[in-house]
Assembly symmetry: C2
Homo-oligomer: 471 residues x 2
């Protein structure tokens, strides 16, 4: 059997296989060894290879395995499988794997997790499976998870962890330290301790380094910082991410509508949100949804088709502008050759401005206050670049068709279209944002429509006038 | 004086002005009050308004002020101005403001900062100013900052903070706590304590929560985790960011080439890098460099023009394909009307695939291992969507020009171009990455060239054959 030979070639006992290659991908030899162990149902070998991995490595490994191998992998690892790894895989992979595992097994696995990880795994399942898995958990865990699942999707309440340490205002630093030395059920890791009154209203937070540098007999209230910034459980995760980023937070208390402490958010959850947010804009501008590399052909085809059909509308509109000038083109077919240049340069320039505007709006760097300054700048940039390109393109057209007039016509059309590109690239995202439409999703259709329509119209129109051609 | 009237209208003493509006922008009333205080040189009012802000709010405020107001703002705030705020502004704003301040004043301000913030502010200045400012600092600070500045740009050594706590391996938890209670010059905030041997080789790290839950007489070595993941000072910040993200790190030790502890990185520095990395891809795909909303017209125009000129090459190439078919277009001018549709649909589909591929490469989700699976999927997606669009566009063309043949021709061209779009959208980024060229920067020029050239060639070529037209 080829797979086993391969393993015997490696001096496995002496030096453990490297998990990742220099580029940071999982190492092919490591994957091969894992797959061989799964195929041979060699539990001991698999537990040796993958029983002690970081959850992120396990997550990547699961994504790399085939759909058939994944449940076998979890089954063979048994109690060494850390379900946190499922928070590190694509949604499609996670849902498929969970479908293949019995709900009792999942319930047992989720019991050990922090609540935020358990919720993250549960939230993509259908309600029936959710209920069955929750039913298999101890009452206290179940109630906590159910409460988190009741918060809206993508809210702070969904992302928060309900394990935290809160002490009474009259406690001293020494009492707090003693409590932590003795308590059995502390969270896995934490960065702050919270001070709450008897009805769990949040009074303040104390960073751990603060506790360590303070004398034992100081009151917790005297070292706590009042949290101006407590997050509401119903708040949208993007809002929260922006605040973490702006104020360099590492963790934050989450309170309910009565200002009672219900959970905490830590920066590692937020890092994913920040990354997603920037990536969402990129995908939205290119017309791809939140598809993942493991999604099926049909899912992807459908989500992309919608965007293509919308763009078809744009293209047909541009074509109908051209059709106004059929007579002009018949009389001078060189116009048909050159017209895509005008539209394409406008499209590129418009996309440049639009990209900057969309990110400026998302990061709040572009606001009503500096809008006019930015608008003035975009007009000047469009004018400079339009003039430079007009000279370049005008000379090219002149040389190509040995027709100076054609050079002048295309130069004029370029200047006009570049101005419209700059204006629409800035004003369309701003207008959409004012109308509460996400500018990342809708801008590029409108901007391309403007630059195509104006490009063809300006070029063919100026040509018809200049050369006195029929329409 | 209008400005003062405006302030008197506000019941300032009773309730402090809100700093931000509901959308998270700085509040216009707050900005107006600050500007009035600057204009009136009312130091007391300004210190009251802005002396106690978070550095992030001060940074945003500085960006909002005019170039003239900024140095006055810093001067009036005096010792209440926290230079950390400069790490929260755009580079252009920071450099301009630092140019307007005397170097002695800057040196005094930087003396209070953590080393990572001081380096961040210094690194954009020219060498002469750097040397003068460093000369105004105490010897120890100067040596530390100089060492950090000697590391390459965008390396871990540049981003790290040299303030950290390291203890000897024989120390107990109790000794460590006592040391922290008494030491005067601890870092502002920290999450881990490091264990080093007598020559400062890194042995391990102890998270603060671990210290708090351990008995005083335990040895630090018995609670430390060996750091598999120490960052090399020369390592690129993007590599480091990927590791923080993958392993959910909050802080990490930084070591030199001899494995000696030289600094630490915390997640708040890394969050900015993660954000920049995702945003860089977005900008690169749209052909805008790392321009900032406060850059000058000329800087921006120049950086965007390069991209536009490169794209002009693409457009001219596409036009020369059209010029091969001048005879064909003369004979049937409807082809000129419809041809942009074929090129544009291909361009959109290619951009979709390319965007997914570029991000897949950046996040390492797309690798040699799943390349063929993804390729197969892209071909199928292109075929499905190509077929759907071919029907839609074919019927449109037929109805529009009352010519069934024209519908068949454009449908065929769409199917061909969609296949090329899918293939080039995936294979071009992968090929560029193999050749060590950043796929985000170069892909879109090549992909658009393919979809334009193939689009025009397929449509006009098929038409010439089908209708038996001249070339």
């Amino acid at each position: 059997m080829a797979n086993l030979d391969q393993i015997e070639d490696q001096p496995m006992e002496q030096a453990p296989l490297p998990i990742r290659d220099e580029e940071g991908h999982l190492h092919p030899d490591f994957i091969a060894a894992v797959e061989a162990a799964i195929e041979a149902e060699d539990q001991a070998a698999l537990r040796e290879l993958a029983g002690d991995l970081h959850e992120a490595d396990t997550g990547d490994l699961i994504e790399t395995l085939t759909a058939d191998e994944r449940p076998k992998f979890v089954r063979l690892l048994g109690d060494l499988f850390d379900y946190t790894a499922l928070t590190e895989t694509d949604e499609a992979v996670r849902v498929q794997l969970l479908d293949d595992l019995p709900n009792e097994v999942i319930a047992e696995g989720l019991g050990d997790l922090d609540s935020d990880d358990a919720v993250y795994i549960l939230e993509d399942l259908d309600e029936e499976d959710q209920a069955e898995i929750l039913g298999g958990l101890p009452y206290a865990d179940r109630a906590q998870l159910q409460k988190a699942l009741d918060y809206p999707e993508e809210s702070a309440g969904r992302r928060m962890q309900t394990e935290f340490i809160a002490v009474a205002p009259f406690w001293t630093v020494g009492q707090t330290i003693d409590y932590m030395r003795e308590a059995q059920d502390l969270p896995d890791s934490f960065y702050e301790i919270y001070v709450v009154d008897s009805s769990f209203h949040l009074l303040g937070a104390v960073a751990l380094d603060r506790i360590l540098r303070t004398r034992r007999d100081e009151k917790m209230t005297s070292v706590m910082t009042e949290t101006r910034q407590a997050v509401l459980a119903t708040e949208d995760q993007e809002e929260v991410a922006r605040r973490f980023e702006r104020y360099n937070l590492v963790s934050s208390a989450v309170v309910d509508e009565n200002d009672r402490l219900v959970g905490i958010l830590t920066v590692d959850d937020i890092v994913d949100v920040i990354q997603e947010e920037a990536e969402e804009d990129l995908r939205a501008l290119a017309g791809v949804g939140d598809e993942e590399i493991s999604d099926s052909v049909l899912t992807i085809a459908k989500s992309r088709l919608l965007w293509l059909v919308v763009n078809l509308g744009t293209a047909v509109l541009a074509s109908s502008v051209i059709s106004l000038f059929e007579g002009t083109i018949s009389a001078m077919v060189a116009l048909a050759v050159l017209m895509p240049i005008v539209a394409s340069m406008g499209g590129n320039a418009g996309t440049q401005t639009m990209t900057v505007a969309v990110r400026g709006i998302a990061t709040q760097e572009l606001s009503a206050r500096n809008m006019f300054r930015v608008l003035r700048r975009e007009v000047l940039v469009s004018f400079f670049n339009g003039a430079a390109l007009a000279v370049l393109i005008g000379l090219t057209a002149w040389g190509w068709f040995q027709n100076a007039g054609l050079g002048i016509v295309i130069a004029g059309a370029i200047i006009v279209n570049m101005l419209f590109a700059g204006l629409s690239g800035l004003l369309i995202p701003i207008a959409l944002d004012r109308m509460k439409v996400d500018p990342a999703i809708a801008s590029s259709v409108f901007v391309t429509t403007v630059t195509d329509v104006v490009g063809f119209f300006a070029f063919l129109g100026i040509a018809a006038l200049w050369f006195n051609l029929p329409f």
